[in-house]
């Protein structure tokens, strides 16, 4: 709880610190995405290697709604998130019964199919993406082209998603989910239809990942194939691992670390990938629980 207040306060004062708000906004979107992913893998034991499809789908849907149909931001967000939710339902039905690595791979495969669809359909404009998306006025009052206003709107969206995830983890549902992760046959023998629980977790996770994708449209003002590509799914996994799998705050920290790496190492040119690779190697070899996971372990509390 203290950690949460601290995080909220820190994030709330960003616009007054001179930190570049767009960087933080982008970080927030990815943080929400990683948290949504973490809900599934860290608490449900289901490693999805296709989460980018939710991010990208919501992004395209929102972008299209805003740019082509001229919908208002709030409707755009709802439309995008709903799109991701629908995709989660469809892919979930296909994927949920596979176990372990096979689940990971079937989600990857599904996301590649989604990628292919977006590559071929005209509304996404192929690899050019949807560009120059108008930000508009939220509820007709908040002008999202003002960086500070936009910042607080994104922050609000992030906190909303974050709290929902936190609550889910610590809900009756979350308890069952953990039990299933621990020992699925036993959960079945207790009378739980485990597939249904996993499915709900998957859909929740996909929907929240979609919310992240919708919000990101307002920050980046474009929607492109990058967000649906498998390497994005990989990045999500990395963020979560670097921060700490199965910790509440880990994915947030992880997302910021990775984004910062991409942003601030950009000047190193070709060495970027080497540095990134080295960070991962060091991460796995020395602090395997992730940044927050190690801290939590050190202080012996759950974060």
């Amino acid at each position: 709880m203290i950690a949460f207040v601290l995080m909220t306060v820190l994030l709330a004062i960003v616009p007054f610190t001179g930190i570049y708000p767009f960087f933080v906004m982008q970080g927030l979107c990815f943080a929400l995405l990683a948290c949504a992913f973490n809900l599934l893998v860290g608490y449900g034991g289901l490693l999805s290697f296709g989460h980018a499809m939710f991010l990208g789908t919501a992004g395209y849907f929102t972008a299209h709604a805003l740019k082509v149909w001229g919908l208002s931001p709030e409707l755009g967000i709802i439309f995008g998130t709903a799109g991701a939710a629908a995709l989660a339902v469809i892919t979930g039905l296909v994927a949920i019964r596979r176990l372990g690595i096979y689940f990971a791979m079937i989600t990857l495969a599904l996301s590649q199919l989604v990628y292919f669809i977006y590559l071929q359909t005209p509304f996404t404009h192929g690899e050019d993406g949807i560009q120059g998306i108008p930000q508009g006025k939220l509820f007709g009052i908040f002008d999202l082209s003002q960086p500070t206003t936009l910042y607080y709107v994104i922050l609000a969206g992030f906190l909303l998603g974050f709290l929902l995830i936190y609550r889910t983890i610590n809900s009756p549902f979350g308890e069952v989910l953990k039990a299933i992760r621990e020992n699925e046959p036993r959960a079945i023998s207790l009378g739980y239809k485990t597939d249904q629980y996993k499915f709900l977790a998957y859909v929740l996770s996909g929907t929240l990942a979609g919310l992240a994708g919708s919000l990101k449209v307002f920050v980046a003002q474009n929607a492109s194939l990058t967000d649906v590509h498998w390497s994005m799914s990989g990045e999500i996994v990395l963020m979560t691992l670097v921060g700490g799998l199965g910790t509440v705050f880990g994915p947030v920290v992880g997302a910021f670390v990775i984004i910062a790496m991409q942003q601030y190492l950009a000047g190193f040119g070709q060495w970027v990938t080497v540095i990134q690779g080295a960070v991962f190697v060091i991460c796995v070899l020395t602090f395997r629980r992730g940044i927050i996971g190690e801290l939590a372990h050190f202080f012996r509390r759950s974060l």
């Binding site: 982008q26 690899e127 040119g269």
Partner: protein
């Protein structure tokens, strides 16, 4: 609020597919441009920073936005990869900054997406298509088969080339769309072979083109009498193919290091600075030349007004002229026009040494090489 401080941001692919044709080389070219401009001696303070957009539009836009907002960058240069270029083009317009694009090929930059803040310097799909398409058709290669990368850029290249081929009296007998980053082309090549077309046009880029050419030689396509035309090829690609494989290939470019004394002098200096000891590509040369023109304009203005549209307008008023691209001008739609050349790749026996790769087939004069203004769909022209 003018001053004499300028910041250049070279934004390109530093680690991926296009790192050799742009990448660190473009940064070196930008530094050379600053040195050669002589402005620092006149009290200007000019800095270069560089960034890797990883060929992802959102990464590119993020870096560019931060450069403009935080680092106060005046000019974003290079930006290969059409999707990134278009995204940055939008941003630069919104922020009233400057984009001097050298690396991207999409002719949209000076057509539907043209902007008062952007100049498209080195080449575009129209010019490549017309250079290679009409020249080859006229010299007898009048039936074409396309291997097209399945993305917007590939489609544009194919479309423009088809137009050129048809205009020159040729015919397209077929084509196949392959996914981006295909490693094996044998299936497609078999189809091309079976089509009996005289020319196989490669409407793709980078690794795809190189692999296609390499495998074409394996399947005996060229020795079987068909001609290969790389629609977008850089000297770095030829270098990686080796002359044995690439000989006889036709391609269009606006710059070749061994073209005249000016280009040779520049290229030698450039090569010394490169870690890989590579010669400049036309993209890298374009970065140099576009910045030289920019500095020339600033010098004339006497100060940096930090107003993108204003500087660009001034740039368009001055004819371009530098040792690398020769004389030319910037059209109102932002298109720089200069001469283009159709080259043929030498065979190993013709080549006199490393990097001696091309022989000139024809020169395409500046006013024929690029989209004629009356065909441009740029909204700026309608005013």
């Amino acid at each position: 609020a003018g001053d004499k401080v300028v910041k250049i941001g070279v934004l390109n692919d530093q680690s991926g597919l296009y790192a050799d044709l742009a990448g660190p080389g473009s940064v070196i070219a930008a530094q050379m441009a600053i040195e050669d401009s002589g402005l620092t001696k006149k009290g200007w303070k000019i800095d270069v920073i560089s960034g890797d957009h990883q060929n992802k539009p959102d990464v590119g836009v993020n870096i560019a936005r931060q450069w403009i907002d935080v680092d106060k960058v005046d000019v974003i240069a290079d930006v290969p990869t059409s999707s990134v270029a278009l995204a940055v083009n939008n941003l630069v317009k919104e922020k009233n900054s400057i984009l001097l694009d050298s690396g991207a090929g999409t002719s949209d930059l000076t057509n539907s997406q043209c902007s008062p803040n952007t100049i498209h310097w080195t080449y575009d799909t129209y010019m490549l298509a017309h250079g290679t398409g009409s020249a080859l058709t006229k010299s007898g290669g009048n039936t074409w088969f396309f291997l097209t990368a399945d993305y917007a850029f590939g489609a544009a290249l194919e479309r423009d080339t088809t137009n050129a081929v048809v205009a020159a009296g040729g015919k397209v007998v077929g084509g196949v769309k392959h996914p981006l980053n295909t490693s094996d082309f044998s299936s497609f090549l078999l189809q091309a072979q079976a089509s009996k077309a005289k020319v196989i046009g490669l409407a793709n880029a980078g690794g795809d083109t190189v692999n296609a050419i390499k495998q074409a030689s394996e399947f005996g396509i060229v020795s079987g009498g068909q001609k290969l035309a790389g629609l977008l090829m850089f000297i770095s690609d030829i270098h990686s193919l080796g002359l044995q494989t690439a000989k006889g290939l036709n391609l269009t470019a606006t710059f070749y290091w061994d073209h005249n004394d000016g280009t040779r002098a520049f290229s030698k200096r450039f090569q010394e600075r490169m870690k890989t000891k590579a010669m400049p590509t036309m993209v890298q040369a374009g970065v140099y030349s576009s910045l030289i023109h920019y500095f020339k304009t600033l010098d004339k203005l006497g100060e940096n007004p930090h107003d993108g549209a204003k500087v660009i307008a001034a740039m368009k008023e001055i004819p371009t002229d530098d040792p690398l691209f020769g004389k030319g001008k910037i059209e109102p739609n932002g298109r720089t026009i200069h001469d283009a050349y159709l080259f043929e790749v030498k065979s190993p026996s013709e080549s006199k040494g490393p990097w001696d790769y091309y022989k000139l087939v024809t020169t395409i004069p500046a006013d024929e090489a690029f989209t004629p203004l009356d065909k441009s769909t740029c909204p700026l022209l309608k005013k």
